[in-house]
């Protein structure tokens, strides 16, 4: 089997053959016949110059293929072929379109591996933009804010960073990540590769209709990028790649019932999900439940603002593992205590489960969900695989 490759394609049903992309492409990788406008796999370098100029959105299509479609194949199309299925043994980094940068794709594949199979986006999720900016051509963002989220006496330093993109288009969806390139070079003199950070603001901006976004970043001892980001000052310029991620997304369906389980900075995407629901839904929704673990209230990011979100929008279960005089309490313990409600979610076809945080939380959460499943006579692995294949079970851990 050939190693699968990512191919840029144009949706012939949506394209109106205006040839703007063809005129824009700096290397003449786009051509047309009387029926279709097509991208030459041999030439396209993923520079993305054609993406914003397309009036229809038909240009933003990607497939992972073992054998790239030829120009002749594409000229003959009346509609775009569906994404081919790869065997479960195939590497997710190679067969998904979470990112076009191989290194970023590998990082995301690793982060999603806890779901036990190929990740799928929720059926009603919006179409994400991927990799508009690359290592070679990063976007430049300006720091608008840098706030400490954890108390001064807490044992961790977690920061809320706001980045503004000015006139550069940087469309994101809740659940996506961006790459940040720390300045300088490693021991071999090579520039640092970008580090991935989940976006913690909704798609319309940290502030509605501003071209900005926020990140939730924890300072790691000796972490080159995390220290760089946590030390950023207002007005500093930052090199950014992305956006990345095409499956860990939120459903647009307001009736979807979301169970979100996280620890620490894993709360970033769920802050974005919650704000999205708050901003977009006037009416009733399918509900959101957050199970959020930290050592202490002082070290739980967004502890203050989170308390203010009404329970009618978000049912909150905050659990702490280091409170003096109290037993250690983890997210999986809370899931067991709420077994009845969790069981309902496992049976609800509108429910989505999201897990985000440190890799070490995966095992405990999975065991709790498995035991709750046993309790109601269903097999966890089967439920999980079915939910994942329907785009309703998402894991992003690191």
């Amino acid at each position: 089997m050939n190693k699968p490759v990512k191919q840029h394609l144009i949706d012939p049903e949506i394209c109106i053959r205006c040839y703007t992309c063809e005129m824009t492409c700096p290397i003449e990788a786009i051509t047309h016949d009387d029926s279709n406008v097509v991208v030459d796999f041999e030439k396209c370098e993923f520079c993305m110059a054609c993406i914003p100029v397309c009036p229809t959105g038909s240009i933003d299509e990607w497939r992972v293929v073992e054998t790239p479609y030829s120009l002749e194949d594409q000229f003959g199309w009346e509609e775009l072929p569906v994404q081919q299925e790869f065997e479960s043994a195939a590497s997710e980094a190679d067969t998904s379109i979470e990112a076009l940068d191989d290194a970023m794709a590998a990082l995301l594949a690793e982060a999603h591996s806890g779901a036990g199979g190929k990740a799928k986006a929720p059926a009603s999720a919006s179409k994400p933009s991927i990799n508009l900016y690359t290592l070679g051509k990063p976007a430049e963002a300006t720091v608008q804010g840098n706030y400490r989220l954890t108390a001064e006496n807490a044992d961790t330093d977690v920061r809320h960073i706001i980045l503004d993109f000015g006139g550069q288009p940087f469309p994101v969806l809740e659940g996506q990540s961006i790459g940040i390139i720390a300045p300088g070079a490693d021991a071999d003199g090579k520039p640092y590769l970008p580090r991935l950070y989940s976006i913690s603001s909704p798609r319309d901006g940290e502030r509605p209709n501003y071209n900005n976004l926020s990140l939730t970043v924890k300072r790691e001892p000796n972490g080159i990028c995390s220290n760089y980001v946590c030390d950023l000052k207002v007005g500093d310029k930052v090199k950014v790649t992305g956006p990345f991620g095409a499956t860990f997304l939120m459903p647009n369906d307001a009736q979807a019932n979301l169970l979100m389980i996280c620890t620490g900075t894993g709360s970033a995407p769920f802050r974005a999900f919650t704000m999205r629901r708050q901003r977009s839904n006037a009416g009733s929704s399918g509900g959101m439940t957050l199970v959020f673990g930290a050592r202490t209230p002082e070290s739980l990011p967004y502890f203050g603002p989170l308390k203010k979100v009404p329970e009618t929008i978000l049912r909150k279960h905050l659990v702490f593992s280091r409170i003096e005089g109290e037993p250690k309490h983890y997210v999986q313990d809370k899931l067991r205590e709420e077994a009845g409600a969790v069981a309902e979610i496992l049976k609800d076809p509108n429910a989505h489960i999201y897990i985000c945080g440190l890799r070490s939380m995966e095992e405990g959460v999975e065991k709790a969900l498995s035991d709750i499943s046993d309790g109601i006579g269903i097999e966890w692995a089967a439920v999980r695989n079915a939910m994942r294949d329907e785009g309703r079970y998402h894991v992003e851990t690191y």
């Binding site: 949506i14 109106i16 053959r17 005129m23 824009t24 100029v53 009036p55 006139g167 550069q168 288009p169």
Partner: protein, 483 residues
């Protein structure tokens, strides 16, 4: 150094042409500006002026920068002067000067010809905004309302682009012409717009879609030809305008397609197989396919007239002097001078239509029109696929180029849509099934009721497959101002 990619906002008029260092032109444009704003404010009803519209604004001519989407009040839209980046060492692509360096100033001998071409192009831009001024009141959705306004602001910007060239390169004559662009008005008795098709009213949304598909496509072809000009500032202006013009093609093609889609769906739901059961189909509140064909016949043929005479010495002069090229001149492989070449043109010889080879130089208009027809037929193929997919037995067709013509060799004679020469009686007997009647217009008008609820669409048109800027279906493209 002059920054040609990034747009400067240090003057009232965003631009990438260094206006702040060009006091003479800046002053002239600032003098012209209030007249423009008055013109704009008179055209667009007050409540729409105050509404927030989700528009695309060009903030840079770099591909990543010109599509910035945001809510804007239309009078606050930043109409700018934007030229595509200068190509180093660009040569005149065609005509007797082919291969010489492109002109950065207007050559004296071509001044009058060039000014006229720019004025004709410039005149069409405000005209279409005038023609479409009443459509906002009957928009079938907020999505469509937004698309209308996007088309309007971009036509406005195209007017700016042409006015800049007039002010910058044509002195006092140019300023006078620029003022006249605001003085003439579509459909006016005293001072009509220069081209016939731009004095017709756009009375309903199907007409709007047909107009943007067929008539704006003429504009696109003219811009393509001017983008090949040896006069570099004109070429660069038109190249950037083309990226915006593509949006108008999109509105037209998908608009007509969505009307067809809805008609076919409604027929299927009601179990109507025969597309000619007009009364029954109209009773469903959708536009029957034969009426759509009639609208197509009308708009296509009106647009063909915009290309002028098939054989034209003016066109030959424009090409030969290097002012206007052919469609995709840079991709054509010939001598780009056409000294000995011929081109086949339809002519009317001894009472019959014949294909005659004429000197290619004189057939420049015809060639562009053929390219236009090829370009326009692409959408018809897509529309027919919608009909076929729905399982309706009907096929839309472009009529023969001789049908319903007012300009060129076929004017003053009567042809049917197949291109058969016919007599007055036969024409009169059938014209009601070839071209839209008053009754057809009245029926379409009866469907034109506004639908302003986010995510909802009037019953005669299907929702789009993809939102603008990837927005979800219920996105509020226009936040209407409620007085």
């Amino acid at each position: 150094m002059l920054d040609l990619i990034n747009v400067s906002y240090d003057t009232l008029i965003p631009n990438n042409v260094g206006l702040s260092n060009d006091k003479r032109v800046l002053k002239a444009l600032e003098k012209w500006h209030p007249g423009y704003i008055n013109w704009w404010n008179d055209l667009i009803p007050d409540n729409f002026q105050k509404s927030l519209v989700y528009l695309r604004t060009a903030v840079s001519v770099d591909p990543k920068g010109w599509a910035k989407f945001d809510y804007v009040k239309m009078p606050e839209y930043r109409w700018g002067i934007l030229l595509a980046p200068q190509v180093e060492d660009r040569k005149i692509p065609c005509g007797e000067h082919a291969g010489e360096p492109a002109w950065q100033e207007v050559p004296g001998e071509y001044r009058a010809l060039m000014r006229r071409l720019i004025v004709i192009q410039g005149d069409t831009e405000p005209a279409s905004v005038e023609q479409q001024r009443f459509l906002g009141k009957t928009a079938p959705s907020l999505y469509d309302l937004r698309n209308l306004f996007q088309v309007n602001v971009e036509e406005g910007r195209h007017l700016w682009a042409m006015v800049y060239l007039l002010h910058k390169y044509f002195g006092a004559d140019g300023r006078e012409e620029a003022d006249d662009l605001l003085r003439r008005s579509s459909g006016s008795e005293e001072a009509p717009r220069m081209l016939g098709a731009f004095n017709e009213e756009t009375p309903d949304w199907l007409s709007f879609f047909m107009f943007t598909y067929f008539t704006d496509r003429d504009g696109k072809m003219q811009l393509e030809a001017l983008a090949q000009s040896g006069f570099d500032p004109l070429s660069r202006t038109c190249r950037f305008m083309l990226t915006e013009e593509a949006h108008h093609m999109f509105v037209g093609e998908t608009g007509v397609g969505r009307v067809i889609q809805r008609t076919c769906e409604a027929m299927k739901e009601a179990g109507i197989e025969d597309p000619y059961e007009t009364d029954k189909i109209r009773a469903l509140g959708v536009i029957d396919l034969p009426t759509i064909q009639k609208k197509l016949n009308l708009h296509y043929t009106l647009s063909l007239d915009l290309f002028g005479q098939e054989v034209s010495t003016n066109a030959a002069n424009a090409f030969n002097s290097g002012i206007k090229g052919r469609y995709m001149e840079h991709r054509l492989e010939d001598d780009h001078r056409l000294t000995d070449a011929t081109y086949p043109v339809c002519q009317f010889v001894d009472g019959e239509i014949k294909i005659v080879d004429v000197p290619a130089l004189t057939a420049i208009n015809m060639r562009l029109r053929d390219d236009y027809t090829r370009d326009a037929s692409g959408g018809v193929v897509r529309w027919n696929k919608i009909i076929e997919k729905a399982g309706v037995d009907f096929e839309l067709k472009l009529p023969h180029e001789s049908f319903n013509r007012k300009i060129g060799v076929f004017a003053d004679k009567l042809f049917d849509p197949e291109g058969k020469l016919i007599h007055g009686q036969e024409y009169d007997d059938n014209v009601n099934s070839w071209l839209p009647t008053h009754a057809d217009g009245d029926f379409i008008q009866s469907l034109m009721v506004p639908c302003y609820e986010p995510g909802k669409f009037a019953g005669w048109i299907a929702p789009p497959k993809v939102g603008i800027d990837n927005k979800p279906g219920d996105f509020e493209y226009v936040k209407l101002y409620m007085a």
